[in-house]
Amino acid sequence: MVQAVAPAMIDDATIERSPGYWSTVWRRFRRDPVAMIALGVIVLLILIAILAPYIAPHDPFRGATLRRLRPPGTPGYLLGTDELGRDMLSRLIYGARLSLFMGVTPVFLALFIGSAIGVTAGYVGGIVNTLLMRTIDIIFAFPSVLLAIALSGAMGAGIVNGLISLTIVFIPPIARIAESVTTSVRSLDYVEAARASGAGALSIVRKHVLGNVLGPIFVYAMSLIAVSMILASGLSFLGLGVRPPEPEWGLMLNTLRTALYTQPMLCALPGIMIFITSISFNLLTDGLRSAMDIKA
């Protein structure tokens, strides 16, 4: 008898089950046109980066002294050519690869390391918390741009050094949020109950702490990507990040500065790409934030 009834009950339960948290967020997010457009632009940029070899009309590295600094609209070179006669459109397309990589990677590394530090400090508490968080405070005591530039300046130019410095800059704010959420979750009744019923530290952290921490931190990290894009390209702009002849938007902006007076439209192009990427990430984060009902 019992077995005969059970399937029907399960069916009923499935029908009446309320939609999960993330599907609710997605439903609200989908209704936000600005955020959806921003998401579309970001997906498009990622596709451009992946498909660069197939869509770029020319080799981004091959230049010719005879066709240097052609204005946008030159036949065969839709967006003109740069100071070494290389096709701008192809370089902007290929530039998406390094620029996005340099902008996004540090945030995800910092998300990983910062959450680990914050959750550990918050969960263990005591002297461990004091040690970890006071160290974080010291890094936080530097203005972010200054620290990123000081670190990569001291370590020398290069992609890896740039990534390391940016990651270090983004760890403190993420660790702070992770720590404060973890500390507040740790003393909640249901976590106490889980601990009393014999749950191990790891499973409590995994289920209860991370479940509460990841949402706000993820949104915060998304908002950092916009900053990171500007900063990473800024490092290359100063000559500290990506090195020539690699195509990267910040670096292109730097090398094209010589043509500021002769080909102004041309010089402005790489900056427009950085701007579009950064504003898309900002608008995406705003949409995500209101869909998840998180205060800024």
Binding site: R134, V145, L146, G153, G271, F275, N282
Partner: protein, 317 residues
């Protein structure tokens, strides 16, 4: 209040020490020999040893650090390898140039940001809010070094109204308060003001919207208070946070001026850092960063104290 200030100052001391340690270590994470820019590449091993001893690089790190810290506290940050002048003199002049630029940018950013934020927050979810919010999100998204280039293209290259680089006529870096110098400041200051403008606009918008939705506002309206009276209440409630954000932004601008100063060749700390990095002038790099970071820490302290003086509830939380 006094106990709060004392506590806050004491809390700042270990941070300062940490900042000094990080600045000290910067020279040692640099690849290769710290003497690389002093010695000729074919220097003999004996000369190298002598120089190491002269600069104290042969001593243990802890001893080097304490010596360096002691001298730094006494106002001696070493000698610039590039110019052979004391680092303190180089940094001092640059700091005043950057401070001037950053202060003007903060004022512009604060005025415009508060205006946009206030309008957006008061007309929430209308088209006015959308326009004002679009301006503020543009402010935080635009790569400011690129904006600087665009402004140079428009106002210097095309229109010829304002000078593209430098802080004074003929590349002089001695500041005078006359039109010839102020003209040089306009483009970099406007460029720099875009970030604080965006951030302050966002903050003020959220603050104003939140205050307007509180019950006491409804109460005041019910009592028949005029729109101006309500405005005064909103300003009074929003001001402490907005001013605090402004203070912090000034600190970020001071530390982050390198990109803009590079675009405009503005003779401040940013340009100094740029030179120090690319000429591997490590004492100058170390000194500039230490001074800027200390500025930032002290500024944070002042902001906290002033904010608490205005609104004592903060100290209790």
């Amino acid at each position: 209040m006094l106990t709060y200030i004392a506590k806050r100052v004491i809390y700042t001391l270990p941070i300062m020490l940490g900042v000094a340690i990080v600045c000290f270590l910067l020279v040692h994470i640099a690849p290769g020999d710290p003497l690389v820019s002093v010695l000729p590449p074919d220097a003999s091993e004996q000369l190298r040893q002598q120089m190491m001893a002269l600069y104290g690089f042969d001593r243990p790190y802890a001893e080097q650090f304490l010596k360096w810290l002691g001298r730094a506290l006494g106002g001696d940050l070493g000698t610039s390898i590039r110019t052979n002048r004391p680092v303190v003199a180089e940094v001092g002049k640059a700091v005043s140039n950057t401070l001037m630029l950053a202060a003007l940018a903060t004022v512009i950013g604060f005025v415009l940001g508060s205006l946009f934020g206030f309008v957006a927050g008061s007309f929430r979810d209308t088209w006015i809010d959308k326009v004002a919010s679009a301006i503020s999100v543009t402010g935080v998204s635009v790569p400011h070094y690129w904006l600087g280039m665009v402004l140079v293209i428009i106002f210097s290259a095309q229109l010829g109204w304002l000078p593209p680089t430098g802080a004074g006529p003929g590349g002089s870096d001695n500041w005078v308060w006359d039109w010839a110098h102020i003209r040089h400041m306009i483009l970099p200051a406007v460029t720099m003001s875009v970030i604080p403008m965006g951030i302050i606009a966002r903050t003020v918008r959220a603050l104003v919207a939140e205050i307007l939705s509180q019950e006491f506002i409804a109460g005041l309206k019910a009592k028949g208070m005029s729109a101006f009276g309500i405005f005064r209440h909103v300003v009074k409630n929003a001001a402490p946070t907005a001013l605090a954000v402004m203070g912090i932004q000034l600190g970020y601008l001071l530390g982050g001026s390198i990109l803009i100063e590079t675009v405009f060749s503005w003779p401040g700390t940013g340009l100094l850092l740029n030179d120090a990095i690319f000429q591997r002038d490590l004492p100058l790099l170390q000194g500039t960063i230490l001074v800027l970071a200390c500025f930032f820490v002290v500024l944070n302290l002042i902001v906290d104290v002033v904010q608490t003086a205005i609104d004592p509830r903060i100290a209790r939380s």
